[in-house]
Amino acid sequence: MNISVLSGKGGTGKTTVATNLAVYLSSKGKNVQYLDYDVEEPNGFIFLKPKIQSVKDVKVRVPKIDSDKCIGCGECSKECRFNALAVINKGVVLFEKLCHNCGLCSLVCKENAITEKQRKIGEIDIGNKERLKVYRGKIDIGEPMGIPIIKELKNYLYKDSINIIDSPPGSSCSVVNTIDDSDYSVVVTEPTIFGLHDLEIAVNVIRQMNIPLGVIINKSGSEDNIIEEYLNSENIELLGKIPFSRDIAKAYSKGELIDNIPLGAFEKVLEKIEMGRL
């Protein structure tokens, strides 16, 4: 079962919720995995401090040009919709970072001069914190496209465990690719106009993909009605609130899990799992 934790806006407490939820469910005897899909800024391990057991490179396929066979016809460059290839003085110049790894150029080349080679764009760290299995995707700095890492992480989603997925922020293709196999989404928001605005964006993404969802208000305080009014009007379940507190902010800043996190929202998620409602 896959439960993704999203936020629309960054910095609302997505990782706080995802890591603490994973630890909570694990402490209740569930078979849990935590997977950090936020490959541009994976921070879950700062809080979980797992023992890392292995590191796997994530590679993508990019064209490899055999200059002996290449006749400089320019067909590959013409067909490539990402303009990752140019043909200069009868030779091919490849721009690896523009390549989307679709493989079209190798099909197009009539001289069979294009094969493929592997290129590293990031890695997956695998470890555990006691019974909790943890995975972290991390993109190499300067690499533009993280989706192949997200897809690779999906190989570790085991059906009979509860997979807590820490999603990237935003609403783009990375988020869509992260949650497309989610059974449930938890959206973390904060009671500000920014929080509301970005919550609406996140809800739109999740609804378009027909995934059931619930919301947690983090840094909750006197302004919660901004969010609550929206949730009521959209008929979205409020799972619970985490109050704004200096203790929590402090624990977070030190990179610690939160001992005294209010468990209301987590209990609701557990109940849903146990009642078979997900």
Binding site: G11, L107, C173, K250
Partner: protein
């Protein structure tokens, strides 16, 4: 034309609070919101839209069912799992590479423009502000940043300073936001995550040869971490490091749709004004100075 980009690595550090303040302080305002996945600046800038443009991010495959013979070749060659057994294209997964079109023996597949969103040009007091709204699952978000920047360039003169609100992270959107900028203001916070993401974003800024300017926001929340961040900056040879205190007025300002520097008694306001004067000096010129207001 000088270009200043505000980025953060990590989300929620106060990037938009700082950008909106710098925008408020600048004369002849040229502002671009390149945080295209979660654009928030328009909530604070009181802007009036004067132009909207359809943005086409890329192309997407379309199957002509009358020609399709269900041979499944397209599905076999698609590397993005975008084609179902029934030969239906999933628009959220289609990468627009055109491999299916190429391989189809019956010419049953066409590539069509994908409407990805809109780019809005607007007027604000003493200037212009450009931002975008993207459809869900939008691809090629880096390109929309390039388009936004092109649009604001069109409204700018030789002596203008363009202020760009960048996106969180280190991926294509961020790369497109910082390309060709003169200085990058990196807003961080005194947390372990803040430091971890600062390190990642700084290596990117270094790769692109952009002058870094680090702002530790809410520095007094954890002074030990602030010290650790300062030490890191010194090791990396980052000379520009400034601090902004935690200020509860920030929340109040958001509620009232204002920038924090409009509350002249607030602690954060004073620090940000000092930063603005300093940035102007470091960017080489008094052209942009308007810090007395």
């Amino acid at each position: 034309m000088k270009k200043l980009v505000v980025i953060s690595g990590k989300g929620g550090t106060g990037k938009t609070t700082i950008t909106s303040s710098l925008a408020y302080l600048s004369n002849g305002k040229r502002i671009a919101d390149c945080d295209v996945e979660a654009p928030n600046l328009n909530l604070l800038l009181n802007n009036k839209i004067i132009d909207e443009k359809l943005y086409v991010g890329g192309s997407i495959a379309k199957v002509d069912e009358s020609l399709c013979i269900d041979c499944g070749k397209c599905r076999e060659y698609c590397r993005f799992d975008a084609i179902s057994k029934e030969i239906l294209i999933d628009p959220l997964k289609c990468e627009g590479c055109g491999t299916c079109k190429y391989i189809c023996p019956k010419d049953a597949i066409k590539m069509e423009d994908e409407e990805t969103g809109y780019i809005y040009t607007s007027e604000i007091e003493k200037g212009n502000f450009v931002y975008a709204k993207l459809n869900i699952g939008a691809d090629a978000a880096g390109k929309v940043v390039t388009e936004i920047r092109k649009e604001i360039d069109n409204y700018s003169n030789e002596n203008d300073l363009i202020i760009i609100d960048g996106a969180p992270g280190v991926g294509c959107v961020v790369i497109a936001s910082i390309t060709n900028c003169d200085m990058a203001v990196i807003v961080t916070e005194p947390t372990q995550s803040g430091l971890s993401d600062l390190k990642r974003i700084f290596s990117l800024v270094k790769q692109f040869n952009i002058k870094p300017y680090v702002v530790i926001n809410k520095y007094d929340i954890n002074k030990d971490m602030t010290r650790e961040i300062k030490n890191y900056c010194k090791e990396e040879g980052i000379k520009n490091i400034k601090k902004v205190p935690f200020d509860s007025v920030v929340n109040k300002s958001l509620k009232e749709n204002k920038t924090i520097v409009e509350y002249s008694d607030s602690k954060a306001c004073k620090s940000i004004k000092d930063i603005w004067v300093d940035i102007n000096k470091k960017m080489g010129g008094n052209n942009y100075e308007n810090s007395n207001s």
